[in-house]
Symmetry: C2
Subunit: 116 residues, 2 copies
């Protein structure tokens, strides 16, 4: 996975553990693709301060993932989810009974409501 996308996922997952200012700067850098001088100007600070903040937060996010592995789990669960959905489609295709098809639709909805 591309580094920038991965960092964006880490930020979505662990952003609540950072301060509002840290998240704000990280989003400008990783999601909005702004340069460090641009972010420094927006925050009325130096390029060096932004560089240090990004570096520190980067390290914190990798550390959280290293310990909790939520992004790794998320990716694994996404694969399982896709697998289940594929099987439900096959099953639905092979079943005629209307009530059973409805039950499968409900299972699919349940699968989508998992927060992973």
């Amino acid at each position: 996975m591309e580094e920038r996308i991965y960092l964006s996922m880490l930020l979505s997952t662990y952003g609540s553990l950072l301060t509002e200012k840290q998240v704000n700067v990280m989003r400008l850098y990783y999601d909005d693709d702004l340069s460090m001088p641009e972010i420094a100007e927006l925050n009325n600070t130096t390029r060096q301060a932004i560089h240090d903040l990004i570096k520190r937060c980067h390290k914190m996010l990798l550390n959280y993932e290293n310990k909790l592995k939520l992004v790794e789990k998320y990716k694994r669960n996404e694969d399982i989810k896709k697998d289940i959905k594929d099987k439900l489609y096959i099953l639905k295709d092979k079943i005629q009974d209307k009530d059973n098809v409805q039950l499968i639709d409900e299972i699919e909805k349940d699968i989508n409501s998992f927060s992973i």
Copy 2:
């Protein structure tokens, strides 16, 4: 949910964010039900030091849950999992075709392999 069980769940979920010593003391207190003086003796320290450590870690665990809500999600996902399994049983009961039953068994296995 009983306070002690809840704390035990928080500890299993966020223990990797604490130090080894902190987890050790918290497990003795919440899982093994030892008293503070007993834990103090085992750790060759004072009851007050253990009291402070437990209080601080308790606060940290609640803070992590307040921000990441992993235990809350876990409980919600467990309910969804149970719901899906109930529906799969109903479906299996109503289906005759052997291949379809096998497909349902596979879906059930997938559901169990979710790490939530």
